[in-house]
Subunit: 167 residues, 2 copies
Amino acid sequence: MKISVYAMSVQMFVPTLRQLAKILDKGAQHAAQKKFDPAVLADARLAPDMFPLTRQVQLACDFAKNSSARLMGVEPPRFEDNEKTFEELKARVARTLDYLGSTTASAFEGAEDRDIKIPLRDQTLEMKGLPFLQNWALPNFYFHVVAAYSILRHNGVEVGKRDFLAD
Amino acid sequence: MKISVYAMSVQMFVPTLRQLAKILDKGAQHAAQKKFDPAVLADARLAPDMFPLTRQVQLACDFAKNSSARLMGVEPPRFEDNEKTFEELKARVARTLDYLGSTTASAFEGAEDRDIKIPLRDQTLEMKGLPFLQNWALPNFYFHVVAAYSILRHNGVEVGKRDFLAD
């Protein structure tokens, strides 16, 4: 076994996004069982000035997709941010998984040294591929996946860490 | 720059644990400002059957410390789980950082292929070093750090993603 940027990006995003899809299923099931509007849960937050579940899922997908694209040195595909339902959120995860599945390990060769530009609202961050992976791609990805999980957990959905960890 | 198990473990745990210490500071300051007992915040949870802040911090430290030790093929040092105050939690993070700081990159050479045993309550998981890092060490570490963050965020502490991401 050899460690590689591909192993530490795509191979980590994919199983975690698959778990996220299952966690979203549990959220939808919870709403159905309790007979409340699932849109309420999709719009739930942990604090009034924090992103709701929908946005956390969109961002988790984007950090997986955009980070992988940047590490390969290609333009990330753009997804519109218009998901509102659990079904739509699951479709976004599925589209992200499709994109990740279309990548190949060889496209990530030499990615450690690639110059990466991250366009933000008010600035552009620039870093090499390895610190980008360490300090940006993975922390941001997990941040939003666990935030999504925490919102559901806080709202009574029966999820535990085993749902988050890949089988 | 070369990707390595050391780069993707110790070099990721260290900056994130430093941020966790700052986030804990903000929690303690919030309690002082609002004049409530900080022990209430240290014992806060997102759900009644979820671990409180103290335990999330202990677990984040343990996944960093134990995973690093296992990847090096050495016995992890044991820390007692007796922290109750923010001060004590910060001391645990500091002890963990001391341990991580005592490791060297060379001790992680060949860790991808090391046979890792993870003693759990009711079973022992066995896997090679690389999947251990991908599917166990990093996901578990981030899970508990973001859970700690989320508990504070939910309780009104003024933290944002920038506090979680390393500078």
